[in-house]
């Protein structure tokens, strides 16, 4: 038994050294595809965090015209606070023009064109309102009633933004999943090809082994081990890449600490879980690719 195990490892290592270029290609491809798989997980998680946070936060924003008088603003506030069955009065928050402008600086950080048009003088101030009712129709009815109040410029529903972000998140989920599955198949194909090449290079040996009565599994196992190892190394590389990406991402997002965007940070615990998953997927993909090759090309 010991002789068999040491044989398998010796042959695996020898084959690894023989096929450096092909092995590197297979390893890098599986690393990249697994990195994409991991990123899909993390992006998804970040969106989920963000959406969860939003749900419990502002759902209704009443924008006030920039030229509204203090009396009008007070009247609007009164109108909002007169609905304690629908909204959470204690959480009504008023952002004056300066505060709204500061918020806009962050929200439109990526859109300098829009930002140039805004000044602390022309920007609408806003009431952020948190509903307590779950009935979105009721909330919408209330919002519409505010539109008629003098000085109100616009009423926005977080639900609308929420829906857009959901759709975006859904789109990203589908497209990254498709891409990573395709890349994963490519990685399996490359591992398959590496093993096929390795087996072809050793067809004389395999022929002799079969003639002297080596079992198929004995012949196969070093090759399958080689493929599994390629997948696993790809997995390790992708984990390193993912850890780097997640750290950079977390640092970047932390700069928006006082906005909802901070919810985009993914916890280390979840990232670790994703890494373990990547290792498992890598090993399984390698075993599948090499297993198919080893069974298919044993008849040399």
């Amino acid at each position: 038994m010991l002789a068999r195990i040491s044989y398998a490892f010796r042959e695996t290592w020898a084959s690894f050294k023989r096929n450096v270029t092909l092995t590197a290609a297979a390893v890098v491809t599986s690393a990249v595809s697994l990195l994409l798989v991991g990123s899909t997980f993390l992006i998804q998680r970040a969106f989920d965090n963000l959406l969860t946070r939003w749900k419990g936060d502002v759902e209704l924003i009443v924008y006030v015209r920039s030229d509204a008088s203090p009396e009008q603003i007070a009247f609007i506030q009164e109108a909002i606070e007169s609905q304690p069955t629908i909204i959470d009065v204690s959480k009504v928050r008023y952002l004056n023009q300066a505060e709204s402008y500061a918020e806009a600086q962050k929200l439109f950080a990526g859109d300098p064109g829009t930002l140039r048009l805004l000044t602390p003088e022309n920007i609408p101030s806003q009431f952020k309102v948190v509903p307590i009712s779950d009935d979105s129709n009721l909330i919408r009815e209330l919002g519409e009633s505010f539109r008629g109040v003098e000085g109100v410029r616009e009423v926005a529903y977080a639900q609308d933004v929420f829906d857009v972000v959901s759709r975006v998140s859904q789109f990203i989920r589908v497209s990254t999943t498709v891409m990573s599955v395709v890349l994963l198949l490519v990685a399996i194909g490359l591992i398959w090809n590496t093993i096929r090449t390795a087996m072809f290079a050793r067809r004389r040996e395999i022929e002799v082994m079969k003639l002297v009565g080596a079992t198929n599994w004995f012949i196969r196992i070093p090759f399958m081990l080689e493929g599994l190892l390629q997948g696993l190394i790809g997995g390790v590389l992708s984990c390193a890449g993912l850890w780097g990406l997640n750290t950079a991402w977390s640092n970047a997002v932390t700069e928006f600490n006082d906005t909802e965007l901070a919810a985009l940070v993914v916890s280390d615990g979840y990232a670790r879980w994703v890494m373990v998953t990547l290792l498992v997927i890598g090993a399984v993909a390698g075993a599948i690719g090499s297993g198919i090759a080893a069974s298919r090309f044993l008849d040399v």
Partner: protein
């Protein structure tokens, strides 16, 4: 030890490699299969270790119908059969010792068994002093001896030899035949395909002659034709 019963084998619809062939080889026997190229000699050898399967008929080896055995048993059948080829089929990146040890290693024999049996069989074939050489450092006859050592190291019941002297000069070929004769003397059944007239006439063993896939002669202590 080996029995073919009405065996027919064709590789494609036009060419029949072997037609309705029946013969039996007793334990410890030495049999020459003779005939021109393409007459079916190699096919018979390939049927005996189940590298090929017949369309019709049965092949019995060591008491088993080898075409009805599951694929997973083939390796164990082959451990009872040694194979020698015209082109030796040695592994060029391995030394003499490693080539012979390989046959034991890949059937999972432990190191101490390999350490005992390999030197013993190299001694038998007369290559004790060359166990660290590589195949390209050996003459053709020596290479064939290595391949015989590899085929015999596991003490098989049967030795199948396909033109083992085909690439060798007559004197070297005779040396190989003496070695096979000695191995046969230990009780190993030997079946050898050849079209080397001189050797067949010299050895005076049983001769099975083939012509276009048909057995045309089966003679004790026979000559080539």
């Amino acid at each position: 030890m080996i029995r073919l019963e009405s065996v027919t084998k064709s590789y494609n619809p036009e060419v029949t490699a072997l037609r309705d062939a029946s013969f039996e080889v007793a334990k410890g026997e030495f049999v020459f299969l003779v005939g021109p190229s393409g007459s079916g000699k190699s096919t018979i050898l390939r049927l005996m270790n189940r590298q090929e399967q017949p369309e019709k008929g049965e092949v019995w080896v060591a008491g088993k119908d080898i075409n009805s055995m599951p694929d997973s048993n083939i390796p164990f059948l082959r451990r009872k059969i040694g194979n020698i080829f015209q082109d030796y089929k040695l592994l060029l990146n391995k030394t003499v010792f490693e080539n012979v040890a390989f046959a034991l290693e890949v059937i999972g024999r432990p190191k101490h068994v390999i350490g005992q049996q390999v030197p013993a069989v190299l001694d038998l074939v007369g290559l004790s002093d060359k166990e660290d050489r590589f195949p390209h450092q050996l003459s053709g006859g020596e290479q064939q001896r290595v391949s015989i050592a590899r085929a015999f190291v596991n003490r098989p019941l049967i030795l199948l030899a396909d033109e083992p002297t085909g690439n060798l000069d007559p004197a070297t070929g005779e040396g190989i035949m003496r070695l096979l004769d000695r191995i046969n003397g230990t009780g190993t059944t030997v079946v050898m395909a050849t079209h080397d007239q001189r050797i067949v006439n010299q050895m005076r063993k049983r001769v099975v002659q083939l012509d276009r896939g048909v057995i045309v002669r089966d003679q004790e202590r026979g000559v080539y034709d």
